[in-house]
């Protein structure tokens, strides 16, 4: 019980006595998580679709598998960049 109480009192202290800098840091920390989470949605769907289509193409034409694979990696690299920029923004927000 005492641990919960102390945590609660700490939170209240934080909320009451936060200076503008601390408030900014708190806001940045909480939005950092959202930044990465939101950035991961689109590329997740995109990569899933892309790889699914690539697998279909390889199953239909196994002799073109090498070509499809190379193109698939290229597409993944381009799509993934969005999620990775989200990750960088996360780090920037959290540690700037």
């Amino acid at each position: 019980m005492s641990a919960i109480a102390s945590a609660a009192s700490q939170a209240i202290e934080l909320a009451v006595e936060a200076t503008p800098d601390e408030q900014k840091a708190n806001a940045a920390a909480s939005s950092a998580g959202f930044a990465y989470g939101l950035a991961a949605i689109g590329p997740g769907i995109g990569i899933g679709y892309l790889v699914g289509q690539a697998v279909q193409a390889m199953a239909r034409q196994p002799e073109a598998a090498g070509q499809v694979q190379t193109t698939m990696f290229l597409g993944i690299a381009f799509t993934e960049a969005l999620a990775l920029i989200g990750f960088v923004v996360f780090i920037l927000l959290k540690f700037a």
Binding site: V88, I91, L92, F95, A96
Partner: protein, 173 residues
């Protein structure tokens, strides 16, 4: 770019911004690797691979040539063998015809012999039958006459009986 100089001060850097010493060492080592790769490391490897490709191609060509040569030798051999084969075929044909004729001759001789023997045997059989018939006739006639006279209680003419028996026997035989 400002962060590059900020790195020299002891302030806390953002962990994702590059610092100059690391760029320096990275660029230096990568440049060194590129130069080495370009002028020292890669050429011998490429030469080895090209040599291997070349020697494989040479071996392949040599194998193809050897195959072609072997095919030529085969054809030559077949050409050389052709007259001998024809001669052999002729010889075989002749031998077969001769054997056929000989066999026909032997079979014909045997057949004539057999025919003569059969004629002789038939003649013998006929003679024996005629002799048997001529021997049997008077006795049968005599027996018939006696039996008939006993049955009819009166004498029967032996000559008449002889005639009847002879007629019946000639009918049966």
């Amino acid at each position: 770019m400002l962060t590059l100089f900020a790195a020299e001060s002891t302030e806390v850097n953002n962990p994702i911004l590059p610092v100059f010493p690391e760029i320096f060492w990275g660029a230096l080592t990568f440049g060194l690797l590129y130069v080495l790769m370009r002028y020292v490391l890669l050429p011998p490897v490429l030469r080895t691979m090209a040599d291997r490709d070349q020697s494989l191609r040479d071996d392949w060509d040599a194998a193809k040539a050897a195959q072609a040569k072997a095919a030529g030798a085969d054809a030559e051999l077949a050409n050389a063998l052709a007259p001998a084969k024809a001669q052999a075929a002729v010889l075989i044909e002749t031998a077969r015809t001769e054997a056929e004729a000989e066999r026909a001759e032997i079979i014909g001789a045997a057949q004539t012999e057999i025919d003569a023997m059969r004629q002789l045997a038939n003649a013998e059989i006929d003679a024996a039958r005629i002799e048997a018939m001529s021997g049997v006739g008077p006795q049968v006639a005599d027996l018939t006459a006696q039996a008939t006279s006993r049955l009819m209680n009166r004498p029967v003419d032996a000559a008449a009986a002889q005639g009847v028996v002879n007629r019946i026997m000639s009918e049966r035989s």
